[in-house]
């Protein structure tokens, strides 16, 4: 056990050296490391949000809200389809659970109904598994004239997946515009999006940018009512929406929007030339400009409402036709809120409402405190363990300590190389590894001691001690490794953070016990040729 070939020795030392070198960049600041020549390893550890501060936001697509909205649109699509020539008479059109139903008066028209409604089923592209297209809606036409269009389980799931993908794109565009933070945006499961923004202390602005649907629409105000009047009764085809600044003010609007956010090509925050207030100016697409021009021409002196996410921002009166395809939105903005609205309009609206289901923010102050405390605890803990080992084992204690320190450095090196995230529970994992890494040395030394007491020579005892103890070390550490790996794959948040360093720690512990410690002891034996063992 104490003989090493030259190549084996070089191999072991090379691995240890690589581990140590990988950890070195972490001792320096980011700026220093960046100034190093390109061949030097520069990678630094990724610190978790709990250490460097930042925001963790888990969003979920509001399925219920999406379905309700989508079904309302479907109702008006069906209504339009039925009005085409030849008209189809129906009754009882409305939302029913997860679908829409209506009753056709003349059952001889059912084939025609089938043909008109088929395009509304909205194929969603190929599913990943089957290769057949999934429709968003199932269509059933009963022979008694009852027609139903409803979500199938697969259709809804597929639609939600698409929404998540689209939302991720929109969110990425929005955050891109912000420019200052570099968050990661990931899909999480079927209907969730995880936004992580390291270093961001106050996520309120990020939240307002990410979470807002930003559905912009322009509607004509129903002129039969006075603006600002709370009026519960309304004609069909109109909607009542509250004002943004004062929710008590209700507006009655025509349901069909004149133009939507889709018709915008650009939006910028500027100042109004007369009042000097922050406003958002916008430009319309050619099509949008045409529609808007036509409508404003016909409706001079009527008010139109600018609606953002079902709230009326403002409802200016059309003084003259707006033909140039550009305009501005005013409505008691601050510079920042005007800027944010411009970003939202440029980046486009989210296809569905997102709700925050989990949020964790750590301020940079707390993170820094945690790092400091973690460092102190690590240094004191390691020092105390080392002192205890020297008191117990003398020279061999020193060897154990070198092994433990190398162990800790290698953990950090591997974490750096793998690009794993170091969190506060991760630091705890390292410190616990210090405690248990010593165990492998203790097992070896106690065994050596035992062999020596049973009458073997010093060197034979050392040899036998290693030989016998390594089996135990293997079994004991593999068990711990299994536990750590399961935690890593199944755990989340702090559990996973802990499991990363703990698993790496167990692996390095086994490596040092089997090679490095043995090598150090072998070198010591060769140097001192001990004839007695004082353990």
């Amino acid at each position: 056990m104490l003989h090493f070939t030259r190549w084996k020795m070089i191999g072991i030392l090379a691995i240890v050296l690589v581990g140590i070198l990988a950890a070195v960049p972490n001792l320096f600041s980011k700026e220093t490391v960046d100034s190093w020549p390109s061949w030097v390893p520069k990678r630094q550890m990724v610190l978790g949000l709990d250490l460097q501060g930042g925001a963790y936001l888990l969003y979920e697509v509001d399925k219920q809200d999406y379905v309700q909205r989508r079904l309302r649109t479907l109702v008006s699509e069906i209504r339009k389809a039925m009005l085409q020539e030849p008209r189809i008479g129906y009754s009882g059109l409305g939302v029913q659970g997860q679908g829409v139903q209506l009753r056709i008066r003349d059952t001889s028209q059912l084939d025609l109904v089938q043909k008109r409604l088929q395009p509304l089923q909205n194929p969603l592209g190929n599913s990943l598994l089957g290769g057949t297209a999934i429709n968003e809606f199932d269509l059933t036409v009963g022979s008694d004239g009852l027609v139903q269009m409803s979500y199938s389980e697969a259709g809804l799931t597929q639609r939600i997946r698409q929404i998540v993908d689209q939302s991720i794109e929109v969110i990425a565009r929005r955050i891109d515009q912000l420019g200052t933070v570099e968050p990661s945006i990931q899909r999480q499961g079927q209907d969730r999006i995880l936004v992580e923004a390291p270093g961001l202390g106050d996520p309120e602005r990020l939240k307002s940018l990410v979470g807002q649907t930003a559905q912009l629409t322009f509607h004509l105000v129903d002129s039969s009512f006075q603006t600002g009047q709370a009026e519960p009764q309304r004609k069909p085809g109109t909607i009542v929406l509250p004002g943004q600044d004062n929710p008590n003010v209700q507006y009655v609007l025509e349901e069909t929007p004149l133009i939507t956010g889709e018709d915008l090509t650009d939006a910028q925050a500027t100042f109004d030339q007369r009042s000097n207030e922050p406003v958002v100016s916008f430009r319309l697409t050619t099509g949008g400009a045409q529609t808007f021009g036509d409508v404003t021409q016909k409706n001079v002196n009527r008010a139109f409402a600018i609606v953002l996410d079902d709230k009326v921002i403002s409802a200016p009166v059309i003084r003259e036709p707006i033909l140039g395809g550009s305009g501005q939105i005013s409505g008691s903005f601050s510079v920042q809120s005007a800027n944010d609205l411009a970003i939202l309009l440029r980046a486009g609206s989210l296809p569905a409402k997102l709700t925050i289901v989990e949020e964790r923010n750590v301020g940079p102050g707390l993170g820094a405190d945690s790092i400091r405390a973690g460092k102190i605890a690590a240094i004191i803990g390691t020092a105390a363990v080392c002192a205890f080992m020297i008191a117990t084992y003398g020279v061999l204690g020193w060897i154990a300590n070198i092994a433990v320190v190398v162990n800790v450095i290698m953990i950090f090196g591997i974490v750096t190389l793998l690009g794993a995230t170091l969190s506060l529970p991760g630091i705890a994992g390292v410190i616990i590894t210090v405690g248990t890494a010593v165990d492998s040395n203790v097992l070896i030394y106690e065994r050596i001691r035992e062999e020596y007491r049973s009458g073997r020579s010093a060197i034979a005892s050392i040899d036998a001690g290693f030989h016998r103890a390594l089996g135990t070390i293997l079994d004991a550490n593999v068990t711990t490794l299994i536990a750590a790996l399961v935690l890593f794959y199944l755990g989340s948040g702090p559990i996973r953070g802990f499991a990363v360093t703990h698993a790496i720690g167990v692996a390095t512990t086994m490596f040092t016990a089997f090679t490095f410690t043995r090598l150090l002891v072998a070198l010591w034996v060769r140097w001192r040729r001990p004839t007695k063992i004082t353990l």
Partner: protein, 314 residues
């Protein structure tokens, strides 16, 4: 130079005769923990219950806690708990799950932000919605079960089935007792606590395997001695190692407990308890279980002699 010896050589502690006392004690503690768990229940944190935790540091070094408590409880967001942690101006605010779900939680946070305004720095805000909290609890339980199963299979494969059963019973005993510790101390039980418990499982198994490894070896060496005496001998042989390793682990944990900061104090305390429970359990539960499950002394004989030894010979 004389070295530190915590345990004298050649101890002959009759652990297996003591099992008449220690085994019932372990059983009693476990049963008490289960009873307490259902009768009292741990102090679940927001990870499993949902809700909001806010940590602030007020600019005023001696803030008026009563006034803050009053103003926050007037916001109409249910019962708001306010307590200091560590420094006098470090304040932890807990808000329960809001009736209106996730959106209502965000609104509640907004109200608290306005109420506190500029008077303090927001150090940490955590909001866990009702759906997520359920999932976190489920995943935690799943992780525990899978860990147990995977380790049982490994131990069964490397040893005998009695050892697999014993290591699982012993680890389960540690888990249950650590749960009991959380119930008794009423420390907040959250995801980090779960990590602590799962780590203790790892430690307990590690320790059990070391003891078992020695029992296996002793079994092969002495064929005529009764199982109880064999186990006693194995444990006594390993006592020096057990004590030293426990010491170093506890030294590391205590330094983390004292210097590691407020955030992981409860985590470390549970680990300290767990490590002690693990040592107790592997000697007083894992070892006697082998006798109760009728491990025969010759069970190891037909296995290959040097199994479990180092894979390479120098």
């Amino acid at each position: 130079m004389r070295h530190l010896r915590l345990v004298p050589d050649n101890t002959k502690i009759p652990f297996m005769r003591m099992r008449r006392w220690t085994f019932p004690i372990a059983a009693f503690l476990s049963i008490m923990s289960v009873v307490l768990f259902f009768a009292v229940g741990p102090n679940y944190g927001i990870d499993f219950l949902g809700g909001t935790v806010i940590e602030i540091q007020t600019k005023d070094p001696k803030p008026d806690l009563g006034k803050l408590r009053g103003s926050l409880n007037d916001l109409g967001i249910g019962d708001v708990q306010v307590q200091t942690i560590g420094e006098e101006n470090s304040i932890l605010i807990r808000i329960g799950q809001q009736a209106g779900g996730e959106t209502a939680q965000q609104e509640a946070i907004g109200k608290v932000r306005t109420a506190i305004g500029d008077s303090a720095e927001f150090r940490r805000i955590e909001i866990v919605g009702p759906r997520v909290s359920g999932e976190l609890a489920f995943n935690g339980a799943l992780a525990m079960i899978v860990t147990f199963a995977a380790i049982a299979v490994y131990v069964w494969f490397r040893f005998e089935w009695q050892f697999a059963v014993g290591s699982i019973i012993s680890a389960a005993n540690v888990v249950v007792m650590t749960f009991g510790f959380y119930v008794v101390t009423q420390h907040e039980f959250n995801l980090t606590s779960l990590a602590a418990i799962l780590t203790t499982v790892g430690y307990s198994l590690n320790d059990t395997v070391v003891v078992y490894d020695r029992i296996r070896e002793t079994l092969r060496k002495y064929k005529k001695i009764s199982l109880g005496d064999l186990i006693d001998r194995a444990i006594n042989d390993m006592l020096g190692r057990t004590v030293i390793t426990t010491m170093t682990t506890l030294i590391a944990l205590f330094s983390l407990y004292i210097f590691g900061g407020e955030v992981i104090r409860a985590f470390t305390l549970a680990m300290i308890f767990g490590v002690i429970a693990a040592i107790f359990s592997s000697i007083c539960v894992a070892a006697p279980v082998l006798i109760y499950f009728g491990l025969r002394s010759d069970a190891m004989n037909d296995k290959k002699k040097d199994e479990g030894a180092a894979p390479q010979k120098a």
